[in-house]
Symmetry: C2
Subunit: 255 residues, 2 copies
């Protein structure tokens, strides 16, 4: 039964996250601070940055020696060669490069700008630091889900989100890069429409729709609200991972 | 001030919509049926299909004479030549064609499959009918907003959504194809991050994020819940239109 209401709530600001931070405890504290108790069917949506920081994915650019390839690409993109070196290390393939942006296939399969490496909202040393995506965001979600399950009244689904640009539309939107406990890709094949005809749309990017919804509350600016509790999401609990959302290269019409 | 809560509620099922249907009255009736009163900052999110049906965009394929180009493309895509004729009439350009799907630039600027022409959830005559997108969804939103404003206690923003596939990700997501009363594309340029650095992400597809959120509640199947009330969306009221979300061709790296 699909609920007719979806409620999303941003938890109060977390402290600045460092390597080894206990996200489980911080989230449970945040829930307590706004008098929320986890219920079956809840989803916790986390901004990628706090997971990356907790996992120690902050890199000091002074430790990065750019390759010749990185120097060449950096000149084309107008970027710091050390940052481009990190982008290359994090990627399988460079798809496009123009001033300001390098579009790659990330090692996790996502086609995205600059391999998701971020220099905003990174506190120390300003320009000298870069934050990489988590090593394995699906695994990070599963681990956090396990920890929350052991300490909370109910087991939530967990989603890690990032902001991606789109090929043909302006503006970034939240997308899921890690998922545990819900069907990231919802398969509707075989379901009839209201008039008994087969549905034309057969697969829905459910975790991406949720990521976009949570992104509305997190904002991009200084709010510092990296955790959103979502209640009423269809298909939860369920199974799936963010890799389900990656279109296989053989089906890609636009590379 | 950004709210820390976002609430979406699907209105109770509307009756089947025919040409000339009074969507304003049907929506106000739906709101009353679930004891909701419009407040400042509310957004009404509508599925494209009910707007298209109300605007009489249902086409009887028996009235469509396919061109030679439509026949050729239909053979390639494995589609009804009359349907392909409608796709071509609704489009500026065909970008890709493979069995089952024709990717076009719609006359409204959107890059999408099959020009958004839908045969599911179309009641009469089954295979014989096709539903086109509204003629001018931004204008449809503005008109409905005006009508609601005249009859309700507050003026909501109005968004019309459709489900689109993505170049590199599996599954469709809700996107905005018509907008009135909110910043479809939210411009964050010049805003600092938490540490005073300029934000790297500068434009957010706010209406698309909201469309995705509402799509979670509408579902794709037989629920028949084509209207969602959203409360707590940042930036509302504001100004913008869905055309703001179309990436100009000159900036398109993937055509």
């Amino acid at each position: 039964m699909r609920s007719d209401e979806l409620r999303l709530r941003a938890l109060p600001g977390l402290p600045e996250i460092g390597p080894g931070a206990d996200l489980c405890t911080l989230i449970l504290d945040g829930l307590a601070a706004c008098s929320e108790t986890l219920q079956s069917g809840d989803v916790l949506v986390l901004a990628q940055k706090i997971v990356s920081k907790a996992e120690g994915r902050l890199i000091d650019l002074r430790d990065v020696a750019p390759s010749a390839q990185a120097h060449a690409l950096a000149a084309k993109a107008g970027k710091d060669p050390r940052l481009v070196e990190l982008i290359l290390r994090e990627s399988h393939e460079v798809l496009r490069c123009r001033p300001g942006v390098i579009i790659v296939e990330h090692r996790l399969g996502f086609v995205m700008a600059n391999a998701g490496i971020d220099q905003s909202n990174v506190e120390q040393h300003g320009d000298g630091m870069a934050l990489l995506l988590p090593l394995d965001p699906d695994a990070s979600c599963a681990a956090l889900r396990q920890q929350l399950s052991a300490r909370a009244a109910a087991t939530p689904a967990v989603v890690i989100i990032d902001s991606h640009g789109r090929a043909w539309r302006q503006g970034t939107v939240g997308v899921a890069i890690g998922v545990s406990g819900l069907p990231a890709l919802q398969d509707l094949r075989g379901q009839p429409d209201r008039h008994g005809r087969p549905l034309e749309v057969t697969e829905v990017g459910l975790a991406d729709e949720l990521a976009a919804a949570a992104s509305l509350l997190m904002g991009q600016a200084r709010e510092g609200r990296p955790v959103v509790l979502a209640r009423g999401v269809p298909g939860v609990p369920g199974t799936g991972c963010a890799r389900d959302l990656v279109r296989p290269r053989a089906l890609d019409l636009f590379r």
